[in-house]
Structures are given as C-alpha cells and as structure tokens.
Amino acid sequence: MKYKAMTAFAALAISAPIAFAGGADDDTLAIDGQEMITKTAAPAHMEETGIDTIISGWHFREDDTQSMQADTFDNPGMIAVDQAMDAWNTVEGSAEKSCASCHEGPESMQGVRAVYPKWNEEAGEVRTLAMQINDCRTNQMGADAYKYDSGPMAAMEALIAVQSRGMPVNVAIDGPVAETWEKGKELYYTRTGQLELSCASCHEENYGNYIRADHLSQGQINGFPTYRLKNAKLNTVHGRFKGCVRDTRAETYSPGSPEFVALELYVASRGNGLSVEGPSVRN
C-alpha cells in the first residue's frame, strides 16, 4: 500500500511539468480525418506584437476536450448544426421564403465564414456574418431578426461555418475596412474595467500562462461559434467578447455594437491562416 502510494507520488512528480504546463501542446487536429491548420506563421500585420506563430485555442485544451472536436458525432455543437439545417429549410416571414429559396443547399455557403467580417459595398459598412444573416432575414424574407447572440443565431452561424471547415481564415484588412480595423486594433489594446486589462494583457502577453486554474489561449476566434462545456451551448464571438470585458469588471459593449464589430474584424485578422474550425469545443 505504502509502496503504491509512493510510486503514485513519484509518477505525479514526473508527469507534473508536462501535464500542468499551461502552454499549447503539439497534437494535430483532424476532424473526421480532415487535417486542420491549428498553428501557422502570424500574418504580416502582427509583426510588432512579438507573436510569430498563431495558435488555435484547441491546443490549449485537455485531450478529452480536444478529441470531442475531432469527431463530428462527438461534437455537441453539431446538434445545433442539425437544428440550423431545419431552420435553413423553414419558410418564414412575409416573403414566404426560406434560406434555401435563394441559396439552395448550405453548401453554397462554402468559404463564407473564412472571409467575414467584410465590407458590404451596398450598405457601406463592415458586416459580420450575424449582421448578414439578419439582413437576409429582415430584407429578403420579411422575417424577424434573430437576437444577435441568441441560440438560433449561433446555430445558423455554425451551419455556415461548417461549410468552410478547414479553409484558412482570410479576412481583408485594407481598403474600405481599414478604418474599422484600426478602431478594432485600438480597442484590443485599450485597458478596461477595474482590473485595467486589455485583450492584449491576457491573450498577447500571457497566452500559455494560467488565469486562475485555466489556460490562457491567444484568443483566436477561428473556432467560433464555440460549444462550451461550462454552459453546454454554442457561444457567439460577441457573447465571448462580452464575457471577457465583463471579467475585467467593466461595463461592456453590447453584442452587435459597432465597437464589437470592429473588434471582431481585428481579432479575426489575427487568425488569418488558421483553419475555420467552427463549431469548436472548448471549456
């Protein structure tokens, strides 16, 4: 008995530095056999940040959580994709149209997730995927808009994200979006709240370290919408931003606000080159 306890202790001591290190691991992610780019060279605009490799949040999770995402059946986020598939074919609104009436199958959305948020020439604004979905719903279908960070919205984003799974994120940061991108960058480095933390304080200067008992990732959003084990549902990017800002003990911007749209564009551009993973599985 005593011997057993001692070996257990020894094993713990040896494995401790590996098992408890907060950094990214070296596993590779293949979803149903399709390999994902989860680590790659940082885009050119990040030169001054000191980050030369951008890393998907997947690398910062435990093996159990990681393997849930590697199989679409095990991924609980895919339930929402099924539900969104039903919504895709459901006729709603005064125009008596469904998504399928114009776009046919969701396969037509291939590549869409990878390039959003992007400039919409007609509206003269930067649009996130959620804004585009709601534009379709209100203007094309005559239906009610989804609440910006609601379940149905997250599900629809997940359905669209799945079509681009494995494609590298490639949002434009120049041309008409440059102004919004600069604004997003400024927000990223602005300290907020009583704790006076900016996004960069954690996700740029301290990724790989601990925040309480959890690992800090680079805050990449290539895996959104994300199924979180803590609340057992899909979470949108803006919902996550709100949570983060709240945790700095600040009044937050609201989901869908121009500030968060700008921040989403900037944060998405920091993931240029990583695979679209959505819906991913995280803590």
């Binding site: 059946f73 095990d74 609980p76 339930i79 099924d82 539900q83 057992a232």
Partner: protein, 108 residues
C-alpha cells in the same frame, strides 16, 4: 414538452458476424432536473429522458434507467456483437410521455 429533441445515432453500416462494434448515440434534450427555480422562485418542473433502450432484432442490447443528475444532451457509447444482419432499434422515453425512435440497419 421539451422542444428541439432530436436523436442521433452512429452505427457502422456493416460488420463481420461475432464482431464487437461501437455504437454511439446522442439525443438533444434539456434534461431539466426539477431542482432549479425560475426568476420568480417557482420550481421548474422536471423534464428528462428517463429511459433509453437499444434492441437488435427484438433482442435487448441495453436498457438504461436515467435519473435527473444526467446532464443536457445525454450521450451513450457502448459495444455490441452482431450475430447476423438486422436492425438496431433505439428508443428514448421522455417524462412527458413522448417516445423518440431511431432505427439503423446493419449488414454482415
């Protein structure tokens, strides 16, 4: 009535006779425990899947009694040996009396 309930099952399409195959099942369900209270302090009534069964050609493979502590979207993974070609029948029983079925055929 729990809304958005949808069973999902993953069974290989074929197997060799006598082989153990892995079966995965998942059903989307809120699994409301009955212990929680809403904003006004009233208890939220219990609404869970209370039983899950799997049968192969009428023969029971598993029969699970489920309790309120089981979390949202119950997931079961188990192994079964397949003696002959046939059909797996999966059944979930809801507290509200609803029964959800899913069938998967397998060849040997």
């Amino acid at each position: 009535m729990a809304s958005g309930v949808k069973p999902r099952v993953k069974v290989p399409k074929s197997a060799s006779a006598g082989d153990a195959i892995t079966i995965k099942t998942l059903i989307s369900h809120p699994m409301e425990s009955g212990q929680r209270k809403d904003g006004d302090g009233n208890p939220i009534p219990r609404s869970i899947i209370n039983r899950f069964t799997c049968e192969f050609n009428g023969q029971s493979v598993v029969d699970v009694k489920m309790e309120p502590a089981i979390s949202t979207n119950p997931y079961f993974e188990f192994e079964a040996t397949v003696p002959e070609a046939g059909e797996f029948a999966f059944t979930w029983y809801d507290d509200d009396g609803s029964v959800y079925n899913e069938n998967k055929a397998i060849t040997v």
